[in-house]
Amino acid sequence: MNRRQFIELTSLILAGSSLPAGAESREQIQHQQKLFALGQNFIDQPATFFTPQQRRLVARLVEIIIPRTDTPGALDARADHFIELTVAHYMTEEERKTFVSGLMGLQAKIDANKANTADDEVETAQLTRYLEELEAENSDATWYQLGSRVDNGFDSTAPFICQLKELTALGFFMSEVGATQVLHHNPMPGAFEGETTLSSDQPSWARNRPGDLS
């Protein structure tokens, strides 16, 4: 990358992912094409939506959902940052309200629990129990039904816990870390074989799009 490209990249990153609402789609398309040409990682752009407390909580939650094991986890992939960008710029007003009030509800539980314990920070085990409670309470959501899957759309009826799981998984498996260090990534296979042997510890192929057939 030369100096001019670097300056351009920096200014594009600071400008964020999207132009002002109402910009002509031609401008938006050209803006995106520049980002592609510069190879900008989506999560390289700053996010300013969450409060510091919310940001800390989301970071803890994604690591509980997809922890670092012998392979990197959601925090390594900055899934928390992906979620902040997505809540801020992708979600509809209604979906955003669901997410933020869900997050605040969880924070309230933590605060109430904190009053009863000496610990500064709620235990991970306790936080996991809260998530399990939320999952049990919402287990009748459409999102949990058989055949429901993550694709390029978004289920606007999904409760907070489902939004959180979906965006954590998306922010992890589609990230550079998740796609290349946890899944198998081969952007240029050069051949197709329909019947290979699957070994027991073999991860899935990383894919181009969420829910893509190819």
Binding site: A21, S25, R26, Q28, I29, Q32, F36, A37, G39, F42, I64, I65, I66, T69, T71, G73, F82, L85, T86, Y90, T92, T128, E132, E135, S139, Y144, G147, S148, R149, V150, D151, N152, A169, F173, M174, S175, E176, A179, N186, P187, M188, P189, G190, A191, F192, E193, G194, E195, T196, T197, L198, D201, P203, S204, R207, N208, P210, G211, D212, S214
Partner: protein, 564 residues
């Protein structure tokens, strides 16, 4: 004021326009190729090709606000995202009208090359029975050509574009000149074997696809990266840019003019020919006039008819070349949509390597040769299928958190899923039609098209039968679980729109003769989907290409004999 004169003008640079440009230039003509959309340069303008998931905005989630504002029809194609939005039509800028109770999805390309860059590349021949269907059951009018007339042109086209597939010897799906087929997944081989035993009438074959399985005519074999619809700089699938445009350019007789909206054609009653093509530059708004000895309309079914309807004159008050009154009528599209999904617990120790840009195909197995006794419909349908080994996006709604959840999502799921999509033939109905809106105009002042189309009883009965047969197939194939549904997508969603300027021997019933030449005007040819007399149930693009090459051959021989 004529800006420039050519031997031939081709309107539209998609699948058929590219073919017309190639054939006409190779036969010695100087050709102007017009397209209403901006240029898309091969390779250079495939901005999203090979872009990894982490560079996609929101990692590939739809940009809903932008889509809902500007791409509210294009988004239904199901393959548009930030990587290739520039190849699609902007629906806000280029509106059309339809009856409010009959939604029609007119999915269009937005660049030079049109939908040749975006198609699913399935390439099937119409059969002898398809060309006889109208005359035998009395729907529509007879085709003016038979399978034998088109067979050598299918050969010619397949040889040039490269079609991979498996010969099966089926009369309802004639074999072609094939490159080696792509491989089936293990689960598909299992299902194929079981069907051969339990439902011998049902053939399962690899999709016949205009994707190269080996190097072909200077184009590289597929590298199996996956999303063809982003454009392919190795030219491994057929598009105007990869195939016909380079051939036309090599003759040095081609002028390509992007951003050129054809407003109307002008008829000269003295010479009884189309004399001028009126063009509006989409960027500058300036008007231009070009003249030529031959005019080929290849703007796509609805757009070519729109141009003819908007080219009325004293001589042709109902639209150019419309002395029959048929122009705009008999719009067809295949019924489409998922007909069933099934879960299999076989071949679980199998996986795959590479991304296969193709599925399997179950050709028509109903009403072949003669009407099936238990069929409540005439004609037929085919199934396109694909297999999925679930990955994290299918498993994300698993319960739980932590290490086990992570492991579940990281590994392929413990089943295979197979989906079948039904493609059903649509009969020609005169009141499924395209007209010009009497009031509404587009940004160039051209009257918008108004589309009125609905599927009828025969299409819906066939749809119901698809669900019944899909269930039988899934049971015979050994599925442990399946669901079926019979609803079709809206008309237009098949993106196989056809008819509206049909061919025929009788000039009172048809717009074009058996050479795709207007009955009324000898130097006017229409070779895109608008010429179709019936729709078959197979994907039509290959047939459009063969018809175009055949029409060009005829037109040039007439031209050289001084008859046009």
């Amino acid at each position: 004021m004529i800006d420039k004169s050519f031997d031939a003008i081709v309107v539209g640079s998609g699948i058929t326009g590219g073919w017309a440009a190639k054939e006409l230039t190779e036969k010695g003509l100087n050709v102007l190729l017009l397209d209403r959309s901006p240029d898309v340069k091969h390779g250079v303008d495939y901005h999203g090709e090979h872009v990894p998931s982490w560079q996609m905005p929101f990692y590939g989630k739809d940009e809903r606000q932008l889509n809902d504002r500007d791409y509210f029809v294009s988004k239904h194609a199901g393959v548009m995202d930030a990587s290739n939005r520039h190849l699609f039509n902007n629906d806000r800028q280029n509106p059309y009208q339809y009856d409010s109770e009959k939604p029609f999805q007119w999915i269009r390309g937005g660049g030079v090359g049109g939908r040749s860059l975006l198609w699913y590349r399935q390439s099937y021949r119409f059969s002898e029975a398809d060309f006889k269907a109208n005359s035998e059951d009395g729907h529509g009018i007879p085709w003016p050509i038979s399978y034998q007339d088109l067979a050598p042109w299918y050969d010619y086209v397949e040889d040039f574009i490269g079609v991979s597939g498996q010969a099966e010897g089926l009369p309802q799906l004639p074999d072609g000149k094939f490159l080696p087929p792509m491989e089936m997944y293990g689960i598909e081989k299992t299902v194929k074997q079981r069907l051969a035993k339990k439902m011998p009438k049902v053939t399962m074959t690899m999709g016949r696809s205009a994707v190269l399985t080996r190097n072909h005519r200077g184009r590289a074999a597929c590298h199996y990266c996956g999303p063809c619809e982003r454009g392919c700089s190795t030219g491994s699938y057929f598009s105007t840019q990869s195939s016909t445009l380079p051939a036309a350019r090599a003759t040095n007789r081609l002028t390509l003019r992007p951003d050129s909206v054809v407003e109307r054609l002008e008829y000269d009653p003295k010479t009884k020919r189309v004399s001028i093509v009126h063009v509006i530059d989409a960027k500058s708004g300036k008007r231009h006039q070009y003249s030529s000895k031959l005019v080929f309309l290849c703007a796509s079914t609805i757009a070519s008819t729109q141009i003819l309807l908007n080219s009325s004159s004293e001589h042709f008050p109902k639209g150019m070349a419309n002395s029959s009154g048929e122009l705009g009528q008999n719009l067809m599209d295949h019924t489409t949509g998922i007909i069933g999904s099934a879960v299999f617990l076989d071949n679980l120790d199998n996986y795959y390597y590479g991304n296969r840009p193709n599925g399997f195909y179950i050709p028509r197995f109903r009403n072949n040769q003669k009407q099936d006794k238990d069929a409540e419909f005439i004609r037929g349908y085919g199934f396109q299928g694909n297999s999925v080994r679930p990955h994290w996006s299918d498993l994300v709604n698993s319960k739980g958190f932590g290490k086990v959840y992570k492991e579940t999502l990281t590994k392929p799921g413990n089943y295979w899923a197979i989906g079948l999509a039904g493609f059903g033939e649509c009969l020609p109905y005169s009141d499924n039609r395209v007209t010009l809106d009497p009031v509404k105009k587009d940004r160039f002042g051209i009257p918008q098209v108004h589309i009125s189309m609905a599927f009828r009883d025969n299409e819906l009965q066939a749809r119901a039968d698809m669900a019944v047969q899909a269930e039988k197939i899934f049971r015979a194939a050994g599925a442990v679980y399946y669901i079926t549904e019979s609803e079709s997508n809206a008309p237009g969603a098949g993106i196989h729109e056809m008819g509206t300027a049909r061919m025929g021997d009788n000039p009172e019933q048809s717009v074009l003769n058996k050479w795709n030449q207007a009955h009324d005007i000898p130097n006017l040819f229409v070779t895109d989907g608008s010429c179709m007399v019936s729709s078959s149930c197979v994907n039509p693009s290959l047939t459009y290409m063969a018809l175009t090459a055949r029409a060009c051959d005829y037109a040039v021989s007439q031209f050289k004999q001084g008859l046009i």
